[in-house]
Symmetry: C2
Subunit: 442 residues, 2 copies
């Protein structure tokens, strides 16, 4: 019997392709119009996706000049969408570097209540350099420092989520007793970075703890994921690389004292889908024809901490020496590694590389018919390169509609994707159990 | 011609009366069930209220044992309600002491977009002592320090909200230009407490700036309100006290270089309404009969920074000497003043005082028929003691329904309250103009 797969919809502007917003299949609604996102969420729910997801950045990047960006904040947006959907999971990105654990724990718990147990937190440490000066820092804290803080931050947040027993509320109008304070505990956290007394000021949420999601794939990031993550978004340009990552992370999760199925691994997949392979290819060509060399150079530079690539020739094969050592990059190191590995392997020209990255920023991009897309999804999943995918339509909403109407039925026919929701919570969709509260016996 | 009044619904647990949750007219839904709050918001909108409002506290207070509390977080809750309503304003409390200005400015701007321009920010400095240790502080920063921070915080937030010109987005698919970076500016704020580069990472919101609301009524609080507030919630036990406050704050607003009508003053009003005055009185008696002396003592103590009142006799007249000097209270000083003034004026027994405060925590409470309630509303407004009221039903939803069905029609018949919304934004309802962006010429 084949494995059931998981699908998350990664919502990004008007599509993941850099030039997707210029395509006729992209919405013309403003990115501040929540009705656009509500529409995407309802379409994804109609397709029985496990979840939708918003990335986030705490700065307005330079690319905003040429890329549809400048959008709503994830938590407020997902709260608005919670009441327009009934089953689909809702994953918001939030930073451990620039927020207070009490505020973050509380907003996610509140959203978990509001959505009836459908929330996930994508934990990021905010690598973009432009965020730091928005929060009083001269520069971004070092990579290792950010992860050390993140590790403690997550422990504080978990402790706050567990600060109420599930049965703490009495709510007895006759006796006038509302809350059993003996079933609510202070956490009295005093660590290296944080001091938080607790308890949280709202009851434990439907999922016990919102689902913890993580996406950094540096060595530090993987160690962090092995300890904490219940779902992992990751970027791979080949199945082999994804399979290596998959095996390594499942092993590390076991080594961290957890079961392998306590983490769901979802590589990114950006598919340009046509009714035939040729139509899919033609769409990708059309999108690539709408890209701009300067936009691509600026984005590549951003991936390598500001390194200037504009002096390189556009049409000669690149080599690894043309790039800074990824381990020196104070940014998303894992994405820098993906790019330099690609360069070493394929020796693309700069023009070719920029087009390749325009598709999905270092995630796996392909073009073809619905059957071809379904084949790749099934193959990677059967090969233990993935538990499912982080679906990144190049153009929104048109390419989401095609995925829902034409790829998902193929997956359903093959028996590897749900036809109806079997659960009401995000934990239920991902096959994760509700965490027992370690501080209270039932 | 009579003055048009403004009405805000203050949503608080299952009602403002301390024992309201024990009354049969109170909801039995959990306070974590957003459908309860959605229902209240829709009822208030059907009654043509200007706005709804959630207070907030960053700790779980001791009173939670006996009072329905432990509830959802305001911003996520109002985001969920935004899509269930179309006209009513949505006011969330958030603290300047325990949040980052960039995060707060962004979430409120996002919510202003999501709601189509209906958001207000109730600015608080978080006087409750239990909040500080949830954010790494040994104790609450001093009253004057909190207000100094708040003053700078609000200036930073305004600058962030004004960091995009209203026409910054080009969104031209033909040229591939999305954003005119010349119409977006860094704020480069470097002040005593905050250093924030900016710009904000989302476009200027429908109202330009969410409406600024304030509720502290200490001398410092009033000076702050005169500079920043566009709506003020305030607590008075007599019309005379409200009229003094009204005259003083309007004068101070003018002295701060603003127009008197740039601030809307809304005293709290908690009405126990029956079809006759006797029925209203009977309801209030019934509610008072459900209160508990220990709960009242604990809340009074909390109002005076932890002072112990439990050694005082219950049934002898109090005097001002039984209370600490309000100016020494590191909490909400204005409420402490209201209470000591009442004691000096009326010499109540401790039992009577606790019952009086149980009704509405120092706000004006009355009982009677719909006509009587409407008379008070009209009288205070005509007497320039108020521009309208912060309506605090003692029992929710029952007493809100009665207010909407029986008091509002009387106000409408007298021509002092709208029958239909004349605007789509909170600024529109309150008669406030959209702030011009000082940094960009159109």
């Amino acid at each position: 019997m084949s494995r059931s797969i998981h699908l998350n919809l990664f919502i990004h502007g008007r599509g993941h392709h850099e030039a997707g917003w210029r395509h006729p299949g992209a919405t013309r609604k403003a990115l501040t119009d929540v009705s656009y996102f509500a529409d995407l969420a309802r379409r994804a729910e109609a397709g029985r996706f496990d979840s939708i997801f918003f990335a986030d950045s705490l700065e307005l990047g330079d690319g905003a000049r040429y890329v549809a960006s400048g959008a709503l904040e994830p938590l407020t947006t997902l709260a608005a969408l919670a009441r327009e959907t009934s089953h689909i999971g809702l994953i918001a990105t939030a930073s451990t570097t620039y927020t207070e654990p009490f505020n973050l724990a509380r907003q996610f718990a509140s959203l978990d209540h509001i959505s009836g147990g459908r929330v996930g937190w994508n934990i990021v440490t905010s690598w973009v350099g432009g965020a730091a000066p928005n929060f009083g820092y001269d520069r971004t804290p070092e990579h290792s420092e950010r992860y050390a803080r993140a590790d403690e931050f997550v422990e504080v947040v978990k402790a706050l989520w567990d600060s109420w027993a599930d049965d703490a509320i009495i709510d007895d109008v006759t006796s006038g007793r509302f809350l059993n304070r003996g079933r609510v505990r202070r956490i009295d956290w005093k660590g290296r970075f944080y001091s938080v007394a607790g308890p949280l000021n709202l009851p434990r949420s439907p999922q016990g703890r919102p689902v913890l999601v993580q996406a950094g794939s540096s060595a530090t990031g993987k160690a962090f994921a092995a300890r904490h993550a219940e779902a992992v978004f990751t970027a791979h340009l080949t199945k082999a690389s994804a399979a290596d990552f998959y095996a390594e992370l499942k092993q590390a999760t076991i080594a961290a004292g957890r079961r392998a199925d306590e983490v769901v691994i979802l590589p990114g997949l950006s598919a340009a889908i046509g009714s035939t392979d040729a139509e899919g290819q033609a769409l990708l060509e059309e999108l690539n024809g709408l890209t701009d060399i300067d936009v691509g150079l600026s984005r590549l530079s951003n991936r390598f901490g500001g390194h200037d690539f504009s002096t390189l020739p556009l049409d000669q094969p690149l080599s690894r020496d043309d790039f800074p050592d990824p381990s020196t990059v104070q940014a998303a190191q894992s994405r820098a590694v993906v790019i330099t590995d690609l360069v070493a392997r394929e020796r693309p020209t700069l023009r070719t590389l920029l087009r390749q990255l325009a598709g999905a920023r270092g995630h796996f991009a392909l073009a073809g018919s619905p059957e071809r897309i379904a084949d790749v999804i099934e193959d990677w999943t059967e090969s233990r390169a993935a538990d499912g995918f982080n679906i990144m339509p190049p153009v929104l909403p048109a390419q989401l509609d095609i995925f829902v109407d034409h790829v998902i039925p193929v997956l359903q026919k093959r028996g590897i994707f749900r036809r109806e929701y079997a659960a009401d919570t995000l934990r239920g969709h991902y096959g994760l159990t509700r965490p027992v509260n370690p501080h209270f016996h039932s």
